[in-house]
Symmetry: C2
Subunit: 131 residues, 2 copies
Amino acid sequence: MRRLTVQRQAILDLINTSNRHWDAEEISRALGDRGESIGIATVYRGLAALEDASLIASIQLADKKRYERADKSHHDHMVCVECGAIEEFTQNRIEALQEDAAREKGFVITGHQLVIFGHCIRCASGSGGKQ
Amino acid sequence: MRRLTVQRQAILDLINTSNRHWDAEEISRALGDRGESIGIATVYRGLAALEDASLIASIQLADKKRYERADKSHHDHMVCVECGAIEEFTQNRIEALQEDAAREKGFVITGHQLVIFGHCIRCASGSGGKQ
DNA sequence: ATTAGAAGTGATAATGGTTATCATTCCCCA
DNA sequence: TGGGGAATGATAACCATTATCACTTCTAAT
């Protein structure tokens, strides 16, 4: 990223002041709501640029990519297949085991993604999920 | 899946007699090559039906879904970001740690996907990957 | 065997997230 | 201070996948 423009700054602020996992369309809409409307192509380019600069992080779900703050310690995700809620969890020992597996294959790790699918505590208890 | 039709049988045979990770288009082309051409929509429906019946397995990559045999013990994948090669690895202890993390959150696991990205041994050594 | 209805097929249109294009604007610095 | 690389925004294009729909095939009950 060569320039941190006002558009990219707006995207970054939005993400950094939340704990959500945003998709491009949600960001576009949220910025529009606060009177900082940005072209959708610029949103996509901005997200890619910000992630490239490690200012935000992302998870690639089946249908779309979602972005979150990068200023958190490493974590993986659990996605509720009923309500779509995304929870974060940390298991440092998993990371170490991944390193072991990679080393065994002569594989040089650049990244990884672990997603657990299932039913969140609210949906599993029948109380309904995200409202 | 209600019926294991000749089309679905052809898809299943193709996958079961290989160790590849196929996408829908590759399956369509391979079947065409062996004179068992199938409509692309039927390929997609067949793959979904076969996976639903646990006769094949899949991994969801960023761009597309890939299918493989289901008659192998559980494993996760390493994807080479240079040549696209997919390697499999098993780390039973990772599974257990995932269970722990889920239990902690009251999350009921239905599935998971762990993909490690990086450079395979051939690409990392500079000898070039898939030709 | 006959047949009604459920399931599957295949050609093709539609969907939807994302990327490419291109004219225009912005901004850094020589 | 002006040339050029970078960014923007509107919109077209892309591409994997799904929906539609007319037609065929299978299955099960009569």
